[in-house]
């Protein structure tokens, strides 16, 4: 009587120590996230191993940089908005709010989008979980602006801060008084901070108006423009560029 083929008799991985199984699954490539999803459907013990938050943290740490899921492209907005573009680079589906018009920033697994239907609003979108957090505008009547989103937890390694608290910084040249203003939104309080205004050295509104008027007469532009570019996040500080004198704030 021929014995059944051994490879059908033994479950090669079922009797492996759980940490050995996770060592194996840890090495599935991160660039194509479908590998991990497909492995999760092999059997319950693989599913349990992969869904374990400790495993997912190790998986992120093991592979270092997170995978590139897609590219959000935003061209200059001065001549009007081109169609917003999102090019996927993996099979992972990405569905941002269809009302989004401008991609503003991304940090720590979150994307900041500017959207409009009846009016403008901001969206913080997590492409991995699909979660979208809609927030009102900061209240600064913007002429031109830049904004940033980042994780609000100090000391976070950002390997697993999905759904955690975040901050949005909005910085704009005010369309009314042409001053540079900024405000910070906290997801914990659900509110924008009191606006801060950049001191431009003029003592009064009249003084500023006179200076602007004279500059225009000379054919110059005296308005400080917040450049509509992404800011640079360095440690706990974010830097935006202004066009007038190329100052950095």
């Amino acid at each position: 009587m021929a014995p059944p083929p051994p490879e059908l008799m033994d479950d090669v991985t079922a009797s492996l120590a759980p940490d050995l199984l996770s060592e194996i699954l840890l090495r599935l490539p991160l660039d194509d996230p479908e590998h991990l999803f497909r492995a999760a459907l092999v059997c319950k013990s693989w599913l349990r191993t992969i869904c374990d938050p400790a495993f997912l943290r190790r998986y992120s740490a093991f592979h270092g940089s997170p995978p590139l899921l897609g590219l959000l492209h935003r061209r200059q907005v001065l001549q009007g908005d081109p169609a917003p573009r999102l090019a996927r680079t993996t099979a992972v589906p990405l569905f941002p709010d269809p009302a989004f018009r401008r991609a503003l920033d991304c940090h720590h697994g979150r994307v900041l989008l500017h959207a409009s239907d009846d009016g403008w609003y901001l969206i913080v979108w997590d492409p991995v979980t699909g979660e979208q957090h809609r927030l009102p505008e900061s209240g600064i009547p913007w002429l031109i602006y830049s904004a940033a989103v980042f994780c609000a937890v100090s000391g976070c390694d950002h390997l697993d801060c999905h759904g955690g608290p975040f901050r949005v910084v909005f910085m704009a040249t005010d369309d009314d008084d042409e001053l540079v203003k900024a405000s910070v939104y906290s997801s914990e309080t659900g509110a924008w901070s009191t606006r801060v205004t950049l001191d431009d050295g003029y003592q009064s509104w009249e003084e500023r108006y006179q200076a602007r008027y004279q500059a225009i007469c000379r054919g110059e532009l005296d308005t400080p423009y917040v450049q509509p570019r992404r800011g640079a996040l360095v440690g706990d500080e974010i830097y935006f560029t202004l066009r007038n004198g190329n100052a950095i704030i």
Binding site: E7, V12, T13, I24, K44, L86, T89
Partner: protein, 173 residues
């Protein structure tokens, strides 16, 4: 017994090990030292003429492990680029084994604490898993599908994108 380990610094000394099915193997002490378990046994003067018994490692995988350790111990330090390349080729050929042997090597390398081999076997297993459908993986590793059809359908539905084997081209939306 103690006499055998008096000159423990002598790298020419051969260490004997015994598989679970009673076969004897010999390897240089430097090779045995690549195994954490064997190294501790040698340090504790447990390596004698009768051989160190390895209760959970059968002869077939043990022969492979002795080969692996002997090769790697001989080329352990001050490798030239060519030697490193050669060792890489050795590893690649060494791990071209069927799933039964791969399983035995995974368990044995883990048990004996042979770090390099453990990593090699783990990586080889991961390479076998990737790019396969769940069903192909079950076949390869002889795994029984313990999901109910309903559970399976639900997971598939939630993650439909992950089960389209061909990668969709980048798409604009």
């Amino acid at each position: 017994m103690a006499a055998a380990t008096d000159d423990a610094g002598d790298s020419n000394e051969m260490i004997r090990v015994v598989s679970s099915d009673g076969e004897h193997f010999e390897m240089p002490e430097a090779a045995a030292n690549l195994s954490l378990v064997l190294r501790h046994m040698i340090e504790d003067d447990c390596a004698d003429a009768a051989g160190i018994p390895l209760a959970v490692v059968a002869a077939k995988p043990l022969a492979k492990i002795v080969d692996y350790c002997t090769k790697h111990a001989a080329k352990s330090s001050g490798l030239t680029i060519e030697e490193a390349e050669e060792l890489k080729r050795f590893d690649a050929e060494f791990i071209e084994v069927d799933t039964d042997m791969l399983y035995d090597l995974l368990v044995a390398a883990d048990f004996m604490g042979v770090e390099g081999l453990s990593k090699l076997a783990v990586q080889r297993t991961a390479d076998l898993i990737k790019g396969k459908t769940p069903e192909q993986n079950r076949e390869t590793f002889g795994i029984v599908n313990d999901f109910t059809p309903e559970e399976e359908e639900e997971i598939c539905k939630e993650n439909e994108w992950a089960f389209q084997i061909t990668k969709p081209p980048s798409r604009l939306c």
